[in-house]
């Protein structure tokens, strides 16, 4: 895409390049000790992509085991560790780092700042996450060692009491789970604090809160939610460790404790957590869809309000994960209602995105392909969520493959799709090179097909009574054909992701040069060089509207006349 933009005066990097290349050791050292938000953002991204591949590898074993009934590909012990690690990895080592990858890289650039508010805290948070991840995966080497999958956690990623009590989990598997996540949890807290402080205290002149890009808005709301989302999990994990090591009785049913207290605490974390994970997907959609439709986002204030609304309502729906634990009918009714209510602001967002595309001139480059698929898939996932909110129906669907299908529709169909969109969109900014469009389209179509083959089919397995967390199933249940189809879809997705990985690396090495603004976009990051210089902007930008570059490119029709 030809660069047709006028850069904001003074924002280009005019310093000549450094004489002489660094040695690889010097380069590595500069990355390890960095406090630069761009490098840290990229490190979070590399961590996330790495663990996406690891988590994907784990599920490959799972799907081979489940492809046929009564399979003996892996033992139940190994299976239980693999699915626990798959869930834990995807949520805490992929989904959460992605929040910080996007936020750390993009927010200072989008608000015209030099760096995050607390650069050293930023680095500290990243390394806490990285070491927590290392600790979690060290568990594979514990216990009986690697091929028995060691001492990896095997209690599902929910780690329900009393299964996690010493009596039922005598080894250290549960300890790895709790301690690793305690460590990454502190990293998360630091990251969230940093994001909020940055957005509130470091905006460039003229950028009021209601002129921040929606991408930034969503990640700031996300961080606010994180402050009170990750901390209940920290508290519950401390209680779990006290039970296991100091003999306390928080979840000890023999001493009068209640197992469902863990459930409440876990889901008070766990439900808002899924909104924490999905907000970056909303953020990316809110940037990509307008730019590729050539229109401003429809209803910016409503989008902000809906995001804040979703964050608030999401704090009051947690027990919809507990409809089967024996709450009163009034309790079940309350949580059914609150869950249905969260569909309203979410629906508003979908409508706003569609309205943004309405009347536009849509270019279906790879980022937009992924975002369009996201819209269909997020709509579907929201509707299966409504189905799950109907408590009596939930009594059938809970703990079945229908739920797995629903949340993968969000985690993969909404989040991963939009993460791919975001990478194709911002890769040129971060590296100065375009990703290959042809490979991008192969990646998209294969992933789209594989995704639907797997996860559309999976809903029906739930309807047919297949529960979760089972390492095998009898031959006479009639689940065999659908399971085989689900597994095949997984392989297709795997191939697509490999194409993506190849595209990533080869584009890094020999992609076409991108220029400042290959997509003809409107937010501040596109006004500086690709990749941005260390200081981001040579002079502090001053903005007067939500789309500063639109104002520059269309001086006869600037946004500030209409906002």
């Amino acid at each position: 895409m030809a660069d047709r933009t006028l850069p904001i005066d003074g924002s280009l990097d005019l310093t000549p390049p450094r004489e002489g290349e660094s040695t690889w050791l010097e380069t590595l050292h500069s990355w390890v000790i960095t406090v630069d938000h761009k490098k840290l953002g990229l490190m979070y991204m590399m961590l996330a992509i790495f663990f996406l591949l690891v988590g994907g590898g784990e599920v490959l074993f799972i799907r081979i085991q489940l492809a046929v009934p009564n399979n003996h590909f892996i033992s139940p012990q190994v299976f239980n560790r693999l699915f626990t690690m798959h869930g834990t990895t995807m949520v805490f080592l992929v989904g959460m780092p992605l929040v910080f990858a996007w936020a750390n890289y993009m927010i200072p650039l989008q608000i015209g700042a030099r760096d995050m508010a607390f650069p050293r805290l930023n680095a500290f948070s990243f390394w806490l996450t990285a070491f927590g991840a290392l600790f979690l995966y060290f568990s594979f080497l514990g216990g009986a060692g690697l091929y028995g999958v060691g001492n990896a956690p095997d209690v599902t990623w929910w780690a329900y009491a009393p299964l996690t009590a010493r009596a039922f989990s005598p080894g250290n598997a549960t300890d790895y789970w709790a301690l690793a996540l305690l460590v990454t949890g502190f990293g998360t807290l630091g990251g969230a604090i940093n994001i909020i402080a940055t957005a509130l205290s470091m905006r460039c002149k003229g950028m009021t809160l209601m002129r921040m890009p929606l991408f930034t808005w969503l990640l700031v709301v996300d961080s606010g939610l994180l402050l009170i989302t990750i901390t209940p999990l920290t508290a519950a994990q401390v209680m779990l460790m006290l039970d296991r090591y100091l003999g306390s009785h928080f979840f000890d049913t023999q001493a009068g404790g209640q197992a469902y207290l863990w459930m409440h605490f876990f889901w008070i974390f766990g439900h808002p957590e899924v909104y924490v994970l999905v907000f970056p997907a909303f953020a990316i959609a809110s940037e990509v869809i307008p730019v590729f439709s050539r229109k401003a986002i429809f209803g910016y204030p409503a989008m902000v309000a809906a995001s804040v609304g979703i964050a608030f309502v999401s704090l009051g729906v947690w027990a919809h994960h507990m409809f089967t634990v024996g709450m009163t009918s009034a309790g079940n009714a309350f949580f059914a209602l609150s869950t249905m209510l969260v569909g309203i602001p979410t629906g508003i967002k979908i409508f706003n995105w569609v309205a943004t595309m309405w009347g536009g001139k849509i270019r279906f480059a790879t980022p937009m392909l992924f975002c369009t698929a996201f819209l269909f898939q997020f709509l579907t996932a929201g509707l299966t969520g409504i189905m799950l909110s109907v408590a009596p129906w939930n009594w059938q669907l809970h703990g079945s493959y229908f739920v797995i299908a629903h949340f993968h529709y969000i985690l993969v169909g909404a989040i991963v799709f939009n993460v791919f969109a975001g990478i194709y969109y911002w890769f040129p900014k971060a590296t100065g090179r375009m990703m290959n469009e042809t490979l991008g389209k192969w990646h998209f179509w294969l992933f789209f097909i594989g995704f639907h083959v797997t996860f559309d089919t999976m809903h029906f397995l739930g309807f047919e009574g297949m529960p979760r967390w089972i390492y095998t199933y009898p031959a006479d249940r009639g689940w065999d054909h659908l399971n085989l189809v689900v597994s095949i879809g997984g392989l297709i997705q795997g191939v697509a992701v490999l194409i993506f990985a190849y595209n990533l690396i080869s584009s890094l090495l020999k992609g076409t040069i991108a220029g400042n603004d290959p997509w003809d976009a409107w937010t501040l990051e596109w006004s500086t060089a690709s990749p941005p210089p260390a200081y981001n902007f040579a002079t502090d930008p001053v903005v007067h509207s939500r789309r500063p570059l639109w104002d520059v490119k269309h001086p006869e029709d600037p946004d500030w006349k209409y906002e």
Binding site: L163, F168, F298, G343, G347, I348, I350, V354, G359, L383
Partner: protein, 348 residues
């Protein structure tokens, strides 16, 4: 390169068609089936849930059709045309009327959905039990099911027998759900949704089966290494069948002198530490009650058919069928295995 629009729309239509075919294939199921589908209910609460689910599917289906069609239309109609036209389209920043409309309509939909949902919640959870209801206490263990019939004084394992009910004169079964160890969940889809078994937190549910036969399900809350093989078998018996079964279960354990050898193996090789055989010295409670072991169709909580060979192999090595099961292999010799199997085969 984009797929032709007809193919994209066709994909969605095809999915809807498949869904309709699938659902209709179960709409007229009349009795128990080996695939425990939630769309083939034969017991009142499951039937109520089914009706509610169809209503919800209609609403969510309609929403999907409307929004997906809109999205498809937008994709087709507003594609960027030729590359020469560089002008940007009209920039629309919002519209109060439109935004109000698509806020109000979802609110109304939520109101309708919630009211219908709440009605069914209260109808199922707060339904008063008739006097004729059968009471059964279900106790979840790792990895088997214990059933106690307090009024009949029975303790059985792994295969639940309940009486067939009638729409006009209902004889539902009221289940009290307890757990001896971790969390479990009782899920027989054709009879009712699942309710969890949580230690120190008794739960309740009820079923009202209107068609007799064998219904299958399994534990639906991860409870440890053999969660996958904690299978459920619910036999909905006609009144005569049920009475006969109760009569048989109430008898004490068979005392056949010809299998005294096997019985001694049973009692000296620590079997009685975990298992009960009514009327003998074996009063262990950790494992299933074996008094009428031969009245069951399966072993290991539904996992294997109850045959002599399977029984012998199970005793020899539970791990060979159910790796991680809490019954240890007692290292019996071949002759001991033969004897104890022969003894157990008399426990009809």
């Amino acid at each position: 390169m984009m797929l032709p629009e007809w193919l994209r729309v066709g994909r969605i239509a095809g999915f809807v068609f498949l869904l309709a075919m699938f659902l209709s294939s179960y709409a007229f199921a009349e009795g128990p089936q080996s695939t425990p589908s939630i769309f083939a209910p034969t017991s009142t609460p499951a039937i109520d849930i089914h009706h509610l689910s169809l209503f919800v599917l209609e609403i969510t289906g309609a929403i999907f059709v409307v929004v997906a069609s809109l999205l498809t239309y937008v994709i087709i109609r507003f594609r960027a045309g030729n590359a020469e036209d560089d002008r940007e389209p009209a920039q629309i920043y919002g519209s109060n009327q439109v935004e109000l409309a698509w806020t109000v309509i979802p609110v109304l939909i939520v109101v309708v959905l919630f009211l219908t949902t709440a009605r069914v919640i209260f109808a199922i959870q707060d339904a008063p039990m008739p006097q004729a209801a059968l009471d059964v206490t279900v106790i979840g263990h790792q990895f088997w099911w214990e059933y106690r019939y307090p009024k009949q004084g029975l303790v059985v394992a792994n295969e639940l027998h309940v009486p067939l009910s009638d729409a006009k004169q209902p004889t539902p079964t009221h289940l009290k759900l307890l757990s001896a160890d971790a969390d479990h969940s009782f899920w027989v889809p054709q009879l009712m949704g699942k309710i969890d078994l949580i230690p120190n937190h008794p739960n309740e549910m009820w079923i009202n089966p209107l068609t007799s036969g064998l219904y299958v399900g399994q534990c639906a809350q991860f409870c440890g290494v053999q969660h996958a093989n904690m299978l459920l078998r619910v036999y909905v018996d006609t009144p005569e069948q049920f009475a006969a079964w109760v009569n048989n279960q109430a008898k004490p354990g068979m005392q056949d002198p010809s299998v005294a050898e096997g019985r001694r193996v049973f009692e000296t090789e620590a079997c009685m530490n975990c298992h009960t055989v009514q009327g003998t010295a074996a009063t262990g409670r950790f494992g299933p009650d074996l008094t009428h072991l031969m009245s069951r169709d399966t072993l290991a909580s539904g996992e294997i058919p109850n045959t002599r060979d399977n029984l012998r192999q199970w005793i020899k090595s539970p791990d060979s069928f159910k790796p991680g099961a809490l019954m240890p292999a007692m290292q019996l010799s071949d002759s001991q295995l033969d004897q104890v199997t022969t003894y157990l085969e008399t426990l009809k």
